[in-house]
């Protein structure tokens, strides 16, 4: 299926949940409402026409100018070979979204990474801990306004 056909199927099922859609270009995607994400994820995974069985990546992007954090879920179907991205926009001050690890267990580690590096909280995540940084790290380095640390446990950088 082409991206526009996939978006058509999504609109038939849950037209109200979709904020906007980009069917052409290099990165076809749909922007969905935050509270509709789990339902749309389940639909993408289970619908017989879509069968998006492989979650490739969850990327978090910080947009301080728009005061939002954008999550992009890139999925592909190994049965049909078509691909799509689903995006949600979160409030930058309090980024919270429902976890999709029930639909795609692969999301578990991707969400932990987004939590660790970007500070997004995933509700109902089975094990939301830092994954790449030490447990006692205090900030989220991929935020655009991240203050560069000058010391870590007494070790000073750039003395």
């Amino acid at each position: 299926m082409t991206p526009s056909e996939i978006i058509e199927v999504l609109k038939q099922h849950d037209g109200a949940g979709i904020v906007s859609a980009v069917a052409d270009g290099l990165h076809p995607h749909v922007v969905v409402k935050m509270d509709r994400l789990p339902a749309i994820a389940a639909l993408l995974q289970s619908d017989w026409r879509l069968r998006f069985d492989l979650l490739r990546c969850i990327s978090a992007i910080d947009w301080p100018a728009k005061n939002s954090i954008e999550l992009s879920y890139d999925v592909i179907s190994t049965s049909f070979g078509h691909a799509l991205a689903v995006k949600v926009l979160l409030d930058r001050a309090n980024p919270q979204v429902e976890s999709v690890s029930v639909v795609w267990p692969a999301a578990e580690w991707h969400e932990r990474e987004a939590f660790d590096l970007m500070g997004v909280t995933f509700l109902h995540h089975p094990d939301l801990r830092r994954i790449l940084l030490p447990e006692d790290w205090t900030d989220h380095p991929l935020r655009k306004d991240y203050p560069y640390p000058v010391a870590y446990k007494g070790l000073k950088l750039n003395p």
Partner: protein, 390 residues
């Protein structure tokens, strides 16, 4: 005659002090981060009951350098050497993935000769990487000889790389717009020589390791990862194909003229046990070496004369936009999610490391398997920590 009265009763069952379903004490074992079979600095905390693993929890991040943050601070060209250090056993493939993502977003056309050269080097690197995987897996399973043989063959590949770009591990050879340099004189002959040499060696590995009775006992029916589980946890590459899923990006969404080549996708068939066991994952890699040889032969035949580099300015400037691009690395799908705001460096670059996803299945598959089998499982997943931690 007095009858001997004998009634045996275990101490344990007297007066019902201890419940009948006796549970031995659980032991927490720490494996790594400095452990030869964890393939780098991976720490796995194992909750064991005797020889049985109840729970395995991987701890990663020891090699974290935050390459994604670095990418926001350097230019596109400057980031190419950083990609070498993600999956340090497949530098060429990483270069290729990043170069393709940038070129697609920038609309840069790559000359035909460069495209074929990219295929040749990507496949050579796949061979080198799979040789390391095979050799180290034998080492994990207690067979030292295959390791030495595999590294002997890998040395030829590294020599070929060295001849063309001077580096043996971190190449930065595939750059934005093409490849850095053309082939030196006589390189094609040397490459063909190597392919002729490698072909029969695969049968040698099979005799030495693949069909070795001890090896099969250690890996067959061990660490079974069914196809639906593999897909659910986002496994890609030889781990997914080992589970019997015929999925390869080189066929599904061909890049770099892979559609012009004739090759097969080997999948696990459960020959020595169940589909998706360690042996299947291992054997898919062995077969892929043979397929890579086929691809390189065809690419060498198709290699045309011409420029090896498109006309790209020194400071690459991309238009505003975004792209998610994936290539088939030896370990799975390496993805780059590139967001540009129109400058000379990315606004955001997210890297999807295949080993990261492949490793995430470990706690599920390792549950209720034997302690010694965790090593077999880890080795068959073939992770590179540089890419898990990025």
């Amino acid at each position: 005659m007095k009858e001997i009265e004998f009634q045996y009763q275990s101490d344990l069952h007297q007066e019902g002090e201890i419940p009948s379903d006796i549970r031995t004490e659980e032991l927490t074992l720490n494996m790594g981060p400095q452990h030869p079979s964890t393939h780098g600095v991976l720490r796995v905390v194992l909750q064991t009951d005797g020889e049985l693993v109840l729970q395995a929890t991987p701890y990663v991040g020891y090699l974290h350098r935050c390459a994604e943050k670095i990418a926001e601070k350097v230019t596109y060209r400057q980031f190419t050497p950083y990609t070498d250090r993600l999956d340090y056993l497949a530098g060429m493939n990483n270069n290729l993935g990043f170069a393709l993502a940038v070129e697609k977003l920038g609309g840069i056309e790559v000359p035909a000769r460069a495209e074929y050269l990219r295929v040749i080097f990507a496949e050579l690197n796949r061979i080198a990487s799979h040789l390391v995987a095979t050799g180290c897996y034998g080492l994990d399973m207690g067979a030292f000889t295959p390791f030495v043989y595999c590294f002997r063959e890998r040395e030829y590949v590294l020599d070929l790389f060295e001849a063309v770009c001077g580096a043996r591990l971190t190449y930065s050879y595939i750059t934005i717009g093409g490849v850095r340099e053309d082939l030196p004189d006589g390189w094609i002959g040397r490459c063909r020589e190597f392919l002729d040499y490698l072909g029969p060696k695969i049968a040698e590995y099979n005799n030495l390791l693949s069909y070795n009775h001890i090896f099969i006992n250690r890996t067959g029916n061990v660490g079974v990862c069914p196809p639906d589980l593999a897909l659910a946890y986002g496994l890609t590459g030889s781990c997914l194909r080992g589970s019997g899923v015929k999925w390869d990006l080189r066929k599904a969404t061909p890049y770099c003229r892979y559609n012009e080549f004739d090759f097969d996708i080997p999948v696990g068939r459960g020959e020595k046990g169940t589909v998706g066991d360690c042996w299947d994952r291992y054997f898919v890699r062995i077969q892929e070496i043979g397929q890579s040889v086929r691809i390189i032969r065809q690419a060498l035949d198709k290699l045309t004369e011409g420029p090896t580099q498109a006309k790209v300015p020194r400071a690459v400037k991309l238009p505003a936009g975004e792209i998610y691009y994936e290539v088939e690395n030896p370990r799975g799908q390496l993805g780059f999610y590139l967001v540009s705001e129109g400058g000379t460096s990315p606004y955001r670059l997210k890297i999807r490391g295949p080993s990261f996803c492949n490793l995430s299945v470990l706690p599920v598959v390792a549950r209720n398997c034997l302690l010694a089998d965790v090593t077999a499982l880890l080795g068959s997943l073939d992770i590179v920590m540089g890419e898990v931690d990025r």
